[in-house]
Symmetry: D2
Subunit: 445 residues, 4 copies
């Protein structure tokens, strides 16, 4: 346990995500706020709202300032938001009359929300790239195991043959949709926030909307009406991150199950040991994926609670958003990194898969037998016959098809049925469908 686990050096081996941490950090937040103030001055100079020369001097001066987060701590305590202290500190550093134009007509929330949007956009683009990387890795894994026969397990029980490639395709398919979701969402997220003290833009007289729209352009964002209190875009962003984290958590949960000693169909290079048990190889990275998914699925609740944001600004709801968004973003970022590490380290054992399948003595081919028999017997009779044979297999030592063969003379080529790949042509076609989508997506980059 560390102050906060994502920031702990002790837990860094499990959780560390340097790029996301950097984007969530104090430095990035202060830089983004300064970038917003600079864009505002620049736009207002251009529109003649503040003197053009002062705007030029001010933006130039803003390129030179350096602010330490610690300097804003007292202001944050007093004001509940960093911008007032930031503005005061910048004015003090610049110490010229033109610095009075800084922050002209803006409110703290304009600055804070824009700094958030700019960073969330960067973060989402980072996550998009990481998703692309995972999609590539999973597509390769899928392709590689397009013919690797494996056991499907439903409700914890061995069910029927499948392909390991189809398992991989099923880890892949939601990522393709998340990738599309990010693409569709980025312009919804990347909108300007500029409303002045109470969202009316009244301090700027009739020029408010012109400034707002120009600021959007300057910051490469879409136009919008002020949304100080309408936090649905933040909710959507958080929901999307949670969905990414749970999709990866599901992959991790499958990894843990497939890596169980008794199943052993996968393993991880460099898997963790135990302080006392030399024979063990713990699937640590897979477990971490599960934990991150479940953690994200918890944080999201606070973001939705924070969307109940009253009046023209709600300090309590807003602070709650500040508390819950970073752990969620950090968890998703970490999950994306960990998923890459897990896939890198993944060792698949097709021979063990086949051995596990054969050890069922045909029980997982019961459905296949039942369908094959249905061509010759009424379906009910076929099912009853298979059920009896299954019961005999469970008590004895014989293969299911041998038990069936003694019970019916239906002209079925039981040997052909023993090769599961024969039934799995449709599974291969399903794999190909997913791979085609993945290729189209990666090709379209």
């Amino acid at each position: 346990m560390a102050a906060l686990t994502f920031d702990s050096a002790l837990y860094a081996g499990l959780l560390w995500d340097p790029e996301t941490s950097q984007l969530l950090g104090d430095g990035a937040e202060i830089s983004a706020m300064i970038r917003v103030e600079k864009a505002l001055a620049s736009v207002q100079g251009r529109l003649g709202i503040i003197p053009a020369e002062d705007a030029r001097l001010l933006t130039a001066a803003l390129d030179q300032v350096f602010l330490d987060a610690g300097a804003l701590g007292e202001g944050m305590k007093r004001d509940g938001v960093a911008a007032p202290a930031l503005v005061m500190e910048l004015r003090a550093q610049i110490n010229e009359p033109f610095a009075n134009w800084l922050h002209w007509g803006a409110t703290s929330q304009d600055i804070a929300d824009l700094a958030l949007v700019l960073r969330l956009k960067q973060i989402l683009m980072l996550f998009r790239d990481r998703l692309d990387g995972l999609i590539g890795m999973l597509a390769e894994l899928t392709r590689e195991h397009r013919q690797s026969v494996a056991l499907a397990r439903t409700r914890s029980q061995q069910a029927a043959p499948t392909l390991f490639g189809l398992k991989a395709a099923n880890w892949l398919q939601p990522l393709l949709r998340h990738r599309e979701r990010i693409e569709a969402f980025l312009p919804r997220l990347g909108v300007v926030q500029f409303g002045g003290a109470t969202g009316t833009l009244s301090a700027l007289g009739t020029e408010g909307i012109a400034v707002m729209d120009a600021l959007a352009e300057e910051l490469d964002l879409e136009r919008a009406t002020p949304w100080h209190t309408a936090r649905d875009r933040i909710e959507e962003c958080a929901a999307l991150m949670t969905m990414i984290a749970t999709s990866l958590g599901r992959m991790g949960a499958d990894f843990v199950l497939l890596a169980q000693s008794e199943i052993g169909e996968i393993g991880f290079a460099g898997a963790g040991g135990s302080s006392t048990l030399p024979q063990k190889q713990n699937p640590v990275v897979a477990e971490t994926l599960v934990a991150l998914g479940r953690f994200a699925a918890t944080q999201i609740g606070a973001i939705h609670q924070a969307a109940i944001h009253v009046n023209e600004r709600d300090g309590a709801a807003w602070t709650l958003e500040w508390l819950a968004l970073p752990p969620l973003v950090a968890a998703t970022g970490s999950a994306l990194l960990r998923a890459g590490e897990a896939l890198e380290a993944l060792r698949v054992d097709p021979a063990r898969m086949l051995a596990n399948l054969e050890a069922t003595r045909g029980l997982v081919l019961a459905e296949a037998a039942s369908f094959a028999l249905s061509a010759h017997l009424p379906r009910g009779d076929a099912q009853r016959l298979v059920k009896d044979a299954v019961a005999a297999v469970l008590k004895g030592e014989r293969h299911l098809f041998d038990e069936i063969a003694v019970r019916t003379e239906a002209p079925i080529d039981w040997n052909a049925l023993r090769a599961p790949l024969a039934y799995l042509s449709t599974a291969q076609a399903l794999i190909d469908r997913v791979l085609a989508e993945a290729d189209a997506m990666l090709g379209a980059r």
Copy 2:
């Protein structure tokens, strides 16, 4: 407290949503499952997978059956899913050999998920219509109060003048986005689920994909690859519903605050009384909106947890989805109804708004004064002057502008500044922007 609050007759007055309840009910679920089985038989008859005549007889017979939920209870206990008992019961009722073709090549989850998708689509379309209704009501409210001067409050403090119409536009703006989200999401939600026992479609030989695609068409759904274990569409649906509920919860929270005795800017016709306090008018419907929003923001966590769904089917995760989705859907449906009731009953009191504003003796015009002075004094001097005047107002009885006038000879028309509508032209333009979007959306229906 009732067995479950949404189903309680005692709590019906607060929570009842008959249409959503009906769509969530056992009857609708059973009907949808039968509709899916019928579509499957029909498609398989057409494709020659089962005898065409048998398919005809079977679909005709399925139109006649009646199933009581109670009849499936034992099967649900045994199987953990209703479909096996449903199929058995349907075969027993039909009691003809062609009934053996029922459910051919399908797995229980195909039926259950398709029945879910069909109902969620209906529910989302219902919610879309309700959103349209709310958008219309809020657009009207916005328009009506385009000139109603009111107080903006930030961090619980009176801040500056705004328009009540802008408050209404801010309740409206996220609903416009939710409306678009539903439209964009409906085709992502409305996809076929058909994978057979383990998602490989192997029971249908080489015909699996053809059946799957035809089934999509028959049920008016999009094509897809089997997604038994990839629950991201369910997560997205649930996240969207949560966002709707929290947006309405935020409106409710504002209603509660504006209806406070000391503020009294709104009220509700027929508002609730108290068992002992005759003078009270409780904003019950607004409180209910807040409660429903916070309740939804809790349920969503379980849906994201349920997305960690292992192997080729995970009974525990799936059951969790069944437990958490209905309360969330019920809460969102109820919130949409309650929001309509609240807007119907809403009584806005522009005179009280003005009185509240005037009672501030110009304090909320401090920003306006400061900007007006900045045309004549350095900004820092202007702010200091206003700050002093504010302090004097707080101690004395005078209006802010009178306090300022004695401190400066700057040639400002203080009387003109006293009419807040003068500064609010941009606020009106913002209102118009939101109304234009609403009109475009409602017109496009």
Copy 3:
């Protein structure tokens, strides 16, 4: 999916808990409210606050009334709480002047909270009895398998021998603590709530506290100060229920893992089938336990949110409590029933456990070997030697002890070490510690 899953006939087989549902139902709530009103009249008659004869007539009349939940729906909508309509309806039914004394000096929340406390007490006592039942069953299971050698698995990997009885003791141990927690909590929960309209009891002049204390006694509750807005007891009750549900969810999760086809150490009589796979036995009841645990772990969040309850009464927070408490209570009640069913149906297979252990060819005895060798070699050397031998086992076919024996001449009786029960004397002692606690608890009833 049903309106609400716990109330659905379709899902009853999975979830039904008739006793808890009854205690959560409208009928029980109305009865409890009437019981409270009657106790109040009785106490006030005795204290001379209302005429003794009127009190007698009123309490007698209250024994005769019958109220239908539907009759209170309109009032609930108007008032946001049932009590005003209940009082009106009771007065109308009784239709005598003495009925005016009904509800004298009380507020709706007094009635609602007392009705809640009375039912929660009953529910907790029901859950306590169910816990006792489970403790008995688990104690028996533990005792029965005090010598059943099984594999311990850590981080999904086979680790070392243990006893199945110790697994059972570990499912049992938190239930013993929950049992104690309920006992300690019952008097904290079972307190009077009586504060009048705003918690000051001012309507009753100087008699308020006397009435409050007498009401406590009449209803067999503890004394307290009014706690309309201090919901910590409700939070504590909900947290306790969540802990029960997650402890049972953990047992269910273990059941699912142990019932996996590849492990097969347990099974369930009458386990669920599959619509197409005749060989399968799905551990449905175990999966349901997991789902209920995770569902409860979600609901609790809303109860804690609802504890942020403002002013002297907060309609929104209170309604949120009403929404979230019943699903949580229903989930815990259902989990307690399901756990009993699961234990009833549980089939343990000690032979398979032993076979699984032997199939490891001594790998899970690596720790034992390492400790045995440490008596003869430096610990580091011993660990290295075992590590090498483990590597050889994994590549070859030999037993670990055979691989070790060729690497060292340390005088160890390897044959004796092969009998895992030999190391498990402490595990048996741990079992005995837990059983002694269980016996003490059950004996103390």
Copy 4:
């Protein structure tokens, strides 16, 4: 937004809690683990399990080591837990044969859980002391305002007179219970964890239980059976912290409402300003309390999810616990500090309270009037009369008692009734009840 908000220098002004951060930090965790290893060696030396002299040398050496968290990062990644790397690093630093006895018979989880328990105990004792501080401050506030008449507000509406001291007593009363809960819980939390690799203690032969019990004594903990997988104590600890945070969140929410401009009954010295609105005083610290309460109410869900911990050790569930516990603890610690700061800065304005009450022109005395009239009229008639008078007050300018007086000749001393303190004797008695409890608790320290 910062990497994690509690650790951010930028947000430190809002959130910083140095003592809790220190106890949650890497350094404290490493120290606690070393302390546990040292206690283990010491106990095993005393019991003759390891050579007494080696034990002496080892514990002496452990006093000299220094470990940097960074050195354990790689091991954490590999092993998923810090202890193996810690042990390796300690052995390397000590670099003597006796260091091989380090960690004898223990498993990583023994060390990690004991290090957690030791720190959670310290944290709970810190929180207990902070609670005592808050109890003292709130008791003083209560006492000071034992006669300060204020408005009670129910469901956001002015309801009836109360005392500000009773409001304070209601913030105080749950803290008294939390204080008791901590006292009762400390011995349940402070238990030994020692089970060896799989909870059987088998590596220590027949000495396992003796070591476990001695280790408990050495670390000043209670005896227990190994609870690697039974996380109910952690759940209970987290639930208790959440309850503390929500009780303080509720106080913060009341503060925000009472500090609204239109109510203005309280304020905070040094309250936050606005970047553009000079007249504003934002109740930042109160808003932060609400945010922390709602944040804690979210985190708790993950702790309960993590209690579903499978087999003999569940890496995923355990990692989830590590992720969610620190933010919850940090939020509670911060809330306790913030609550103290808020009470320190609190300015109560009894004159404004009285003015607000008088501005209601007797409406909030309607209940009092109704009860006074009931002594002379049938209750129904009295209520009707008051209702009519209330309606007249709302339309006109007169005081309620004047409106009543013209409607009845009942011999009531209306002037006496105008002094609300007259009805509030019971409220004072309720205050005294709470204060007596607080005094008893603080005196008993």
